[in-house]
Amino acid sequence: MKHSLGRYAVLAAIVVVVVAGWLVMAGRHTPPDGADLMRSKSSAGGAYVVSVEPEAEPVEQGPLHTWLASVKLPDGTPVVNARIGVDGGMPAHGHGLPTAPKASHAGDGVYRIEGVRFNMGGLWELRLSIDGPAGEDEVVFNIEL
């Protein structure tokens, strides 16, 4: 009987290891550190509400492409005269963007961010600095490729 219990203990241990392994493997595709993939959020200081979307889906690895960023005040008023700076990179790899994208106002508080390239798979940050009527603020979007 004792012998059988020992066997079951070994069996249980193997099952635990296997399940843990599956969980780790299944978890590979979720962003590390619980990074959110929200495409609409408030800027860090709460001055603006910013939504981003790529001009064309899906976002492809490699080619230059364009994102659209809608910038509003918290009350929903479009911000039409902000200066938008674009930065970003891959925090896990310690490098920035391979290009220097530029933002320009396309109208009605929507800014075109041209010249974006994600040259490898993984979690990217797209960091927008906003200098507008509610002051300077920053918002970071996580993008998983």
Partner: protein, 410 residues
């Protein structure tokens, strides 16, 4: 007694069956030669089947013209295109050696600063040279012609040569050559002091006409180079079979070690981060802590190239480009400065890599084994910040990666 024995025997069988099925699950999950669906997708992304059509080059109006490509091929292999009549593009870009020369640094009239790059699929690159100091294939092609260590000639010398040797073919493609009557034998903005002085004495309009003809030499060579495409490899055949749900056959069968290497390449070793896409390069610039070349220790790579490509009169925005400003996105959105450019060099394609030692931009690493060890150890960069982190790679993993890299050839 009997029932106890039976019961115990039964429990034992259940336990054995459970253990063996769990063991099968463990082995199945970690079977080194099985690719999961996500891994298959990644592997397929590296195959020639994923190679998009060759992008057009609006800056070169003859890029797709077979007649220009044929003319370019003649120019590429003609040693008359050098000041001593002994050096052609094909001197370093050897046709039977993947268009490279197996040397740490190219040997032409003199010795260059960097490793000769292979040319298969080169027209897919946005940036040319290891540091991207040219933004088109045609602007690249004319640069070595005026380098004193390479072809050693000067602008007027080359246009004269075309007029004497290739007038009919040139004019059939590009129209009339400029009238060179009364001009000196040698003149150019990058040559010797005498050549520079002679160049300055040429009226601006004639200089521009010579520049146009010189650019056209590059455009013809580029049209030829656009035809140099990668060939199918064992890796392509292996993954294409897997993706089709078939068992690889013949030389497409991978050994267990090769399959493990593929899994590492697209997985935990992170090779695919930079060596991605069907050419196994992202075409971008990275500091990977490659040791300085003793012959040229101050080589800063991309950091030293940005100003050159901006000021190159033959760049996308220059007067000799056939494109419009809208075609110059790479130049427009180029990272102009910053520490990330320091000692950053373009990711080379890994197609055919095992047959192409020595490695890195000046052949600093002699063997594939040492190249993998470089990534395993991730040494500090001589300057700037290496993007590499030390790789937790077993000896078996190292051997597997090397075995896999060898499948990237015919």
């Amino acid at each position: 007694m009997s029932s106890i024995s039976n019961s115990s025997h039964f429990r034992g069988r259940i336990a054995k069956a459970a253990i063996s099925s769990v063991a099968a699950l463990v082995l199945g999950a970690c079977d080194p030669s099985e690719l999961g669906p996500d891994e298959t997708t990644k592997a397929v992304s590296l195959t020639l089947a994923s190679l998009p059509p060759l992008p057009s080059d609006p800056t070169n109006r003859v890029a797709g013209e077979p007649r220009a490509a044929a003319f370019g091929a003649s120019l590429f292999f003609d040693p008359a295109l050098s000041i001593n009549g002994e050096v052609s593009c094909g001197t370093c870009h050897k046709i039977d050696r993947q268009f490279q020369d197996d040397l740490p640094r190219g040997h032409a009239i003199g010795i260059t600063d960097r490793r000769t790059m292979p040319l298969a699929g080169i027209a897919y690159n946005s940036w040319q040279f290891w540091d991207g100091r040219r933004d088109s294939l045609w602007a690249q092609a004319i640069t070595p012609l005026e380098d004193i260590r390479e072809h050693g000639g000067n602008r007027l010398f080359y246009v004269r040569l075309i007029a004497e040797r290739y007038r009919e073919r040139y004019e059939g493609i590009f129209g009339p050559l400029p009238d060179l009557t009364g001009l000196p034998e040698h003149a150019g903005p990058l040559g010797t002091l005498a050549e520079k002085a002679a160049w300055r004495a040429i009226p601006a309009g004639q200089q521009e006409a010579i520049n146009t003809a010189f650019a056209n030499i590059g455009k013809a060579i580029a049209a030829f180079e656009r035809t140099l495409l990668p060939s199918e490899t064992r890796f392509d055949r292996h993954v294409s079979a897997l993706a089709a749900g078939e068992d690889p056959a013949g030389d497409a069968v991978f050994s267990a070690l090769e399959s493990e290497g593929l899994k590492l390449f697209i997985g935990s070793a992170g090779c695919i981060d930079c060596h991605n896409g069907p050419l196994l390069t992202d075409g971008q610039f990275h500091n990977t802590g490659v040791p300085a070349d003793l012959a040229n220790p101050g080589d800063r790579g991309r950091a030293g190239a940005v100003r050159q490509v901006i000021s190159d009169p033959f760049n996308c925005l220059g007067p000799y480009s056939d494109g419009s400003q809208a075609d110059c996105e790479e130049l427009e959105f180029m990272v102009p400065a910053g520490e990330a450019l320091e000692r950053a060099f373009k990711t080379p394609s890994l197609r055919g890599v095992a047959d192409r030692a020595p490695f890195m931009h000046a052949g600093q690493i002699l063997t594939l084994e040492d190249a993998v060890d470089h990534y395993r150890n991730a040494p500090d960069a001589p300057s700037g910040q290496s993007e590499l982190r030390p790789l937790d790679l077993t000896d078996r993993g190292r051997a597997a990666l090397i075995a896999f890299l060898k499948t990237l050839g015919p």
